[in-house]
């Protein structure tokens, strides 16, 4: 037994606080607690030396470890890129048609293409590639310039009506409002409504058909099924880029339409172009 007499509760003073007759002892803290407190102080000194800590006017003290979250993100990105270097090289050396057969490559191309699409394409085509009026839906089976891998790749590389690129897709429909009479445009509109199986004025169709043969069929084809070589849309199907009702068709005939898409060659890496081509192709409409 220790010689020192152990203090009893009543040997301690109280804090002077009292609630319903209950008083609070003013007992000393355990010493380990004090040591823990000192340790936190030592830790904080070390932390201030090692990490960014003291705010300055435009920045903060950098700390001897030169740590920054921005650097950390960069390191993570570099690490992921290094990790992907091998499969990216494999993607570049594999023809696009063979990517789907390789499960790893297909997953890599889809994920990478998704990220490229969300960054560069979604602004016009929508995050789900569902398109909007004037911006084609890439999920459906209706393609202006072709929906196989090669056609999609050419469109992505060279864009549409992108003047800076000599190989860009280019088609131009005349503004028939400056060429045909108002009545002729109305007859033509009725004919286009009829080929797409919509309600129409059948009395105008015969005149409209001859107008179509004279003015439109060289691009849109005899049966209005379109021509992908020239980027002329199919007028007989259920899908309309600028609307398929009487008013919208009449407006298109009069004023023409002129959608554009930038060329991505040079802006995206070769691997990114391949990825996003594969991604668009696998959305459900690829041929």
């Amino acid at each position: 037994m220790s010689k020192k007499k152990k203090l009893q509760d009543e040997d301690y003073p109280t804090t002077g606080h009292e609630w319903d007759g209950i008083r609070e002892y003013d007992k000393p803290m355990p010493r380990w607690w004090l040591w823990t407190f000192y340790l936190t102080i030592i830790f904080s000194i070390g932390y201030v030396i090692a990490y960014p800590a003291i705010p300055l006017v435009n920045s903060a003290t950098p700390g001897v470890l030169k740590y920054s979250t921005r650097m950390e993100v960069r390191e993570h990105i570099d690490a992921v890129n290094a990790q992907n270097a091998e499969i990216e090289a494999r993607l570049l050396s594999t023809p696009l048609e063979q990517v789907a057969a390789d499960a790893d490559l297909s997953r890599f191309a889809t994920a990478g293409g998704n990220s490229v699409f969300k960054t560069y394409c979604a602004q016009c085509h929508g995050a789900g590639a569902q398109g909007f009026k004037g911006y084609p839906n890439l999920q459906d089976d209706d393609w202006l310039w072709g929906g196989d891998l090669d056609a999609i790749e050419i469109t992505i590389r060279h864009g549409i009506r992108h003047d800076a690129d000599d190989d860009t897709r280019y088609s131009e429909m005349p503004k028939f409002g400056e060429i045909l009479e108002e009545a002729e445009i109305a007859q033509l509109t009725e004919y286009v409504l009829s080929v797409s199986s919509q309600d129409h004025d059948s009395s105008a169709v015969v005149k409209g058909q001859s107008l179509f043969a004279d003015n439109c069929s060289s691009c849109h084809g005899e049966t209005a099924q379109g021509d992908r070589e020239q980027g002329a849309p199919n007028l007989a199907d259920a899908l309309w880029l600028y609307g398929g009702d009487r008013e919208a068709i009449s407006h298109t005939i009069k004023n023409s339409r002129f959608g554009v898409m930038p060329a991505w060659q040079g802006r995206l890496t070769e691997a990114q172009i391949k990825q996003v081509t594969f991604y668009v192709h696998q959305l459900g409409g690829g041929e």
Binding site: Y12, P28, P30, R31, D141
Partner: protein, 471 residues
């Protein structure tokens, strides 16, 4: 800083050293066995092997964080089945309620790692430095070669135990033999070394130096447990109506001869005769100590014993206490046990009826539908199939709808997919509604996906919806 005088006391006070004396008796023997049992479970479990087939770990108990799998002998838990773990935690909580209601702080006294490891560390201390009186002498002695040798030996053995404790912990998270080899050759991941280091330091400090202070100052459990006890809970107590007034053997009126045996063996450094106190972990060693003394002086055992508050007035009046069973078989305990067992049974049932593959389906929401050039409306779905077995399995996919809608899987002409062993597959599924089908115009119509393993005949379904073109 305040002065060293007694009034007022210092702001901070060092630990009052505790030198628990060796004791023998029923409780001490039981606790040795329990210590051996619990420590064996902890140290040996990661080394048990369990054959699960190729490409799967053969460790019986393994928390595979990297692959998000928990293996427990024949049971394999995937992240979406985490409710099993939640259920176990709830059972652990209810089990504590039950045991606390019956036996007070029995967890603290017998099974808490802090108690078990401290007990082990005190055992080592006694082996190296001797029993209570020798240890007190050693503490008071000036530093000499002998004192240094004893202290350093003790610390090295403690450190070894502490490292083994931290080491055993990481084996639960990776293949134990491989990890041991990697650890010894310096190949293991930094996080393994870091975890071992933290566990080693905390075990060394908590078991060797902080000991009862962890229970008294750091742990919230004593307060919670104390609040869960009631007057029928059995707890270690001193029968003061029998022991008092205490005194020397030949002069004492009560049975207590004030020999201090109960105080000397106490690892918490308290006097049980002061009554219930928050420091007491009910380790029951004072019962053994007192019984030994009572035997020697020819008095009946049980001056310190497991008692309940409700027995006290009976015993004071000289009547026999209630039976043990009347303390245990109470409504409150039945409710705890019922809840505990109910969850246990429910989990066992869930374990047996769970399918070893699971399915979920997520319809594309952007866009909800796509109209094709012939007016057909198409919906796309992400069908997720998890194969929780060790073999590759082929699953056939079909749908049930009001109209005979066409279904198509991306990337294959068939309506079946192979999901690799122990893997999850995301399959894009298309459903087409022709213009003449009502679904193509309806805002939403129901679709039921059936996923079937034709080899085993197991099948499961998951419901979703088809969005029509309502423009």
């Amino acid at each position: 800083m305040t002065s060293q005088s007694e009034q007022p006391p210092r702001l901070f006070e060092g630990r009052e050293p505790v030198f628990p004396q060796r004791v023998s008796g029923w409780f001490r023997r039981f606790k040795w066995w329990l210590m051996g049992f619990t420590l064996s479970i902890y140290y040996l479990t990661p080394w048990i092997r369990w054959d699960r087939g190729v490409n799967l770990p053969d460790q019986a108990v393994l928390v595979d964080l990297a692959n998000a799998r928990f293996y427990f002998f024949w049971i394999e838990i995937w992240p979406h089945e985490l409710y099993f773990v939640a259920g176990l935690l709830i059972m652990a909580g209810l089990g504590l309620f039950l045991f606390t209601s019956i036996l007070g702080r029995v967890w603290c006294g017998y099974a808490c790692p802090q108690t078990v490891w401290t007990d082990l560390f005190i055992l080592v201390e006694r082996w190296i430095e001797g029993d209570r009186n020798e240890r007190i002498r050693l503490l008071r002695a000036k530093w000499s070669f002998r004192k240094l040798r004893l202290r350093v030996t003790k610390w090295i053995v403690w450190l070894f135990i502490a490292m083994a404790t931290g080491g055993a912990w990481v084996f639960y998270f990776a293949d134990a033999p491989t990890l041991l080899r990697d650890l010894l050759t310096g190949q293991a991941a930094f996080v393994a070394y870091g975890t071992i280091a933290v566990m080693t330091v905390t075990t060394f400090i908590f078991g060797g130096f902080l000991r009862e202070q962890v229970c008294t100052y750091m742990c919230p459990w004593p307060r919670i447990q104390a609040a869960m006890m009631d007057e029928d809970s059995l707890t270690v107590a001193y029968r003061d109506w029998r022991g008092e007034p205490r005194g020397k053997l030949d002069k004492a009126e009560g049975d207590c001869i004030d020999c201090m045996a109960c105080v000397n063996v106490c690892p918490q450094g308290i006097d049980i005769r002061d009554g219930q106190q928050v420091e007491c972990i009910t380790c029951a060693l004072c019962i053994d100590a007192c019984d030994t003394v009572m035997d020697r002086i020819g008095r009946p055992r049980g001056l310190i014993d497991y008692c309940s508050l409700s027995d006290e007035p009976l015993e004071r009046a000289g009547k026999p206490p209630k039976s043990i069973w009347s303390h245990v078989l109470r409504l409150r305990n039945f409710i705890y046990f019922g809840l505990w067992a109910g969850i246990g049974v429910a989990m066992v049932v869930a374990l047996f009826i769970r399918s070893d593959f699971s399915t979920s389906v997520k319809p594309d929401r952007n866009p909800r539908f796509v109209t094709m050039s012939d007016g057909t409306v198409r919906n796309a779905y992400d069908l997720k199939i998890s194969n929780q077995t060790g073999q590759d399995r082929r699953f056939h996919i079909s749908i049930k709808t009001d109209d005979p809608l066409r279904v198509d899987l991306q990337g294959t002409d068939t309506l079946s997919v192979v999901v690799p062993a122990d893997d999850t597959l995301h399959q894009r599924v298309y459903i087409f509604a022709k213009p003449e089908h009502a679904a193509s115009k309806a805002k939403s119509s129901s679709v039921r996906f059936w996923v079937e393993d034709r080899q085993t005949g197991e099948r499961t379904h998951v419901d979703s919806g088809f969005s029509g073109d309502v423009r």
